[in-house]
Structures are given as C-alpha cells and as structure tokens.
Symmetry: C2
Amino acid sequence: MLKKPILFTPGPTPIPPEVSLAEAAPMIHHRTPEFSRIIAELKNDLKYLFQTQEGEVYTFSSSGTGAMEACIANLLTKKSKALVILGGKFGERWAELCEAFGVETVTINVEYGKVVKPEAVEAALKKDRDIKVVFAAQCETSTGVLHDIEAIASITKRYSILLAVDAITGVGIHPLLMDTWGVDVAVTGSQKGCMIPPGLALVAVRPTAWQAIEKADLPRFYWDLRKMRDALKKDTTPFTPAISLVRALKVAVDMIKKEGLENVWQRHAHMAYATREGVKALGLELYAQSPCNILTAVKVPKGLDGEAFIKRLKNDYGIWFAEGQEEMKGKIFRIAHVGYMNDFDILTAISAVERGLYEAGYPVEIGKGVATAQKCLLKSEIPKEAKKKPVPAPL
Amino acid sequence: MLKKPILFTPGPTPIPPEVSLAEAAPMIHHRTPEFSRIIAELKNDLKYLFQTQEGEVYTFSSSGTGAMEACIANLLTKKSKALVILGGKFGERWAELCEAFGVETVTINVEYGKVVKPEAVEAALKKDRDIKVVFAAQCETSTGVLHDIEAIASITKRYSILLAVDAITGVGIHPLLMDTWGVDVAVTGSQKGCMIPPGLALVAVRPTAWQAIEKADLPRFYWDLRKMRDALKKDTTPFTPAISLVRALKVAVDMIKKEGLENVWQRHAHMAYATREGVKALGLELYAQSPCNILTAVKVPKGLDGEAFIKRLKNDYGIWFAEGQEEMKGKIFRIAHVGYMNDFDILTAISAVERGLYEAGYPVEIGKGVATAQKCLLKSEIPKEAKKKPVPAPL
C-alpha cells in the first residue's frame, strides 16, 4: 500500500495546503501597513474563535505552555492563592507553573480519565476564601476528558473568582463561549483547532481580568499582557512576531470563518461520535468518562501490545495515532480527529484500527468498525453537544 | 519598473526559497525518530554557528527577546547584581528585563552610535564586586555599532564574572568565538544571520554558566534551561517545538555549513564595507563609530526628508530600508546586508539610495555610489575583521 501519512495526533494536526503555502509566501516586514492589516483583521477573527466581543486575543510566539505561563505571570501576585483542577498532564502543568512562580495552590485531584465535579470546585472556593484564580483545562488531552467549563464558570462568576482555561485543545473544536459563560481568560496553541504548525499561542482576555493583570507583581516581560494590549491597539506586536505563522493563521481562520464556527464544532462532534462508536463496535473500551471531541482515548485491550500496534500503523501505513503519555503509556492509545479532517478521515482511522488489530492477531470482526462509523457519520442524529449555538460572530 | 521586493531590514531578512519550501513541507510529529534526527543534527550545527564545542545550544519558540529573558531568568538570583552595557534599544532591553525581574543593575551609559570602552567595563567590575553577570550586545542593531565582545570577554574571564551576549544580529554575521573568547552565554534570533522567518530563538550555554543556572532562584518554567538541557540530551524539546521553523532552520544552517562560516563572515564584511564606501561616496555620513556588518546606519543629511525617502523606495520600488527607532527616527536610516545576500544585492541597495536621493531632488552624482561599491566588491583587499579565522567546526 502506498504510504500517505495522516496525523491523527492531538497537535501537530494536518495542515491545509493553502496554509502551508501562506507560510512559504515571500517574507514581509512586520512594521508595515501590510502586516498591520493582517493583525487588525485577525483581531476580530480571533475574538470570534474565542466567542468574545468584550475581550481581546493576544498572539505570542511560543508553544501553548508559554500562553499558560502568561496567565500565571499576569493574573497573580506573590501572595495570592490559586485553585488548580488536576486530572491529567495538562491540569498538572498549571500546578507546575504555579510552583515555578512560587504561587500557593489548592488542588482538586481528579482521577485520570474522570471528569471534575463542579461541586468540588464550589466546595474548594467556599472552604478557602483566599483563592484568587481557578485554573482548569477544557479538554484534558492526555486522557481525552472534556471538563464542563460552562458549569465551572457559573461557579467562579458567582464567587467573583477569575477563571483561566487551558482551551489549547478546545478552541476551534468545542464550544467555548467566553462572554456567555463568563470565562475570564482562555488560551490555545496554533497546532490544534487552528490547523497551523506549532509556534503561536493565543491568550484571550476579557475585561474582567484586567484589574488582576494591572495588580500582578510577578516578574513578566515577554509575557506581559500590558505590552501586548498597548501594541495591539496600534495593530502591532511588542516584539518581532513569527510572521510566517501569523500569516498562516490568517488563512486558517478564514477557512474556519467560511465553514462557520458552529459547523466546525458540529463536525468535530460528529467525527468524535463516529470514532467512539466505531472503536466500541470492535470490542474496545473508551478511557474517558466524558470524552472530548478532539481525540478518542482507547484502552489497550488485554492481549495486545499497544506500543507495537501504534508503531506498526505508523511505519507500515503512515497512520499516526498518539500513545498514552508517561504513566498512561502502553495503557491507552489516542486517535485525534481535529482540524483539517472530515468523515472520510474517520473511516481511515477506524479502518487502520481494524487493520492493526487484525495484523496483530487480535480477534476482530473485519468491517464492523468501519460499518458502524459509516452509519454514525450518515445518521442525521446530531450528538447533543453539537447542537449548542454560538453567540453571533463579532464584527 | 517591475517591483521586486528586497528586505534590506535587519530582520526579517530575505529567506532562501529552499528554506521557505522546507517550512511548507508536509507536517510531521515532533515525538518521532524523524524529528529527533533533525534535533540531533542541529545540535552540532548550532554549536558550529556559536563556535562552541564545550557548550550546547537550546532552541526556544519565541522572538529573540524571549532568549534574552531566558538569560535573566536562568543566570541570576533575587539578590544578585548585573552590569548592563547600554548604548541603544537592545542594550536597554537587557536593563528593562533586569528591572522586570527585580534584579539590581549597574549600567554603563554609552552614547548612541558610540562603542563601549572595555576599560569602562573593567572599571565597573573593579568598583562593584557584587556584580555577577555582564549583559552586552554584540551588534547594537538600533545604531549599527559593533561592540568588541572579545575584549569584554577577556575582562569578564579575568574577574570570573559571567558574560551573556545578545548576539541576535551577530551570529552568522560576525565572528563570535564563544569557546576561544570565553563568552558564557550568547543568544540569537532566527530571522537574522540564520536566514529563516522569525519565531525561533537560540540560547548557547557554555559549561561555565551552569553553576549559576543551577543556583538561580527567579521564577522560570518555559525558559528553564534545565528542562531544555534534559530534553536535548534525548534529542527532543520540553514543549512542542515550532516544527516547521525548526526544519527551515536545518536547511538554512546546512547552507551556512556548505558555504563555511568563515566565508559567511567574510561575505558580510565585504558587503558591509562596500555599502559603507558606496554611501560615503554619495556624500552621506555614517552614524556608527565602529560599524557592524549586519547593517549600515546612515545619517539623514540636511535637506532630505528621511521618512519620505524610505517610504518612496518601499512603495515605488519594493526596496525596504529600515528607519531609525524611536528617538533616532528621521535622523538615520539603516541598510541591512544580512543573510541570503550577495554582492549584486549591495549594488541594488546603493543604486536605490542614489535613485531615492536623485528623485528627492537631493544633489547626487549619479553612478558614483554604485561605481564605488563595485570597486570595493571587486577589490581583493579584505577588510581586517573578515580575516579572523574561526576555530575548527565541531563534529
């Protein structure tokens, strides 16, 4: 079989050819009307992506972790306390960042694969009135769990506590209605729902967060949101931006706008639903209690060498699934269905799972997975979450 | 005239087409043998670029300022004192970073356009024994001045003080012999001598700096060099790297290796020399006392509207010179001759200066600039600095 690599990995994701070409376009200077026009247009586009009319979105040259660090450095003071929701590698990253900055944290321990109970957040806030910011992940990419940010935001709003959300694998995939829900700060990386290569990180900030940002006293320079705000007002950036990636982002968000964010969300919901059903039809079990739509985490069944299974699909067919990270290695594999993907890609993924199992000598009814996925993809029944409507697009 | 844009700006610079294509190549995952091979190869390539066999070079997804922040966060403690050499926008950035991190600084004020006297550095170190690190710029891009890093390093070495150099517009342009001179840490950005788009920053660290890095107690997470070191040992990165830019970097440094670093330095020295002589032949004055080879800063002569001059060349001919920054705006213009450029590009630049002056009604002898530049470019006489030999390339 001709090897045609497809990245079913939760970042990097497949890049639309139009986006790659934009990245390779002749270089332009960033202190020019031409580049400022891109910044100015992206300003509105990115607000649409985060569903905020009140807020602004700032673009850093960095990985997603940089955007998370920007949240810590800008929202907290040396004496403030943070509540961190754990439950996977990325929840834990918030805690590690707080520790690096010497910020005291209270944590909510969530079992890997399980979803946080909003009551636990409320209980923690009730118990400790010194908490200033809650740090949460929307999709915990390491386990495939979707946390209920809307519910968490309704609590933080009630307690007048700031909520900062790692939506790195949420934005452009799951509804994230910053204004409607009352999420104060949210971040994403460029190599997920935004469909471009890694290297940019976006930080969306609603006006509700600015008092804390002004008062913050932790060291900040590169991540200083005040510098970002002042520059963005003039359609520019405080430091040299990653010009080629910013232009690629513009092309990618134009594609998202054309498709419509509701449709993008619904597409991901559909693809995720079909993947889950296809996988289950093969007798495999899902890992996540409340699975997200960016990826499907599948338990490696007894009798299957998970690492060899992943490796063979990669090497023989160019099908890139993700392994479990650290302690989850060998226990799960993850099929990402994110960004520049459609129904046919899902059939490819399920077909590859079937093929991999079959070739590993694992008992599998050939065709059952793909047939099930196909039925789900053609069904008019829309998974519940996909029905949520976004607020109107900002101008 | 057909407009063929050329960036005579000190970053971004012209990108070789091979590099642009590498950036647009099909995306690959970063946790793979394929990407690790690139990291492993770049490890040696980048050591060659910084002329260090003892040290290692770490690649951040960020602008050059991020690499400077990494120096501050990793080399200092809350109680340590730093010496900063001023003299332009980028020298000042070191001081601003120290301030943001609450680090006490002693500064050496250098007049804009002038070069720092090494004796001033020695006097400062002698006077204040609490200084732990000296922060300097090799090329002060805002004024076009080249500081004598070799001389400064000989002093810091004698006093056993660390030296961190902003070589953002030095690496791949000027000799920077980290091991031979005893520079402990040096940084660069990707959009200068490295000939790729902005978005990567490199931090080269010699073993002499590690004691300070281990002892540092300022907040650090994204910039933590210990994380970088541990990951690089395994040919990987702690966070998702800017994959497309890293692959572009590999192609660009392969081009530098093929040309030979000595030849790259000599080419820049030649181009800079011809530019300076060409400009002077037109009756214009240079701004920098000790001009660097990345760009030529030219005083805007009386009777010429500098901004209009720059603007017309951009709009009418696609020739991008850089204006002066902030207080130097309108007083100087800067012709960068860096990266993917050769002698013919220099003739283009000088020809554009002539044309711009002529069209502005400024008295100019047409052809005198280009003829002078041409003579310099064809002369066998090699400017002094270009004769310096690098240490042998590391394996």
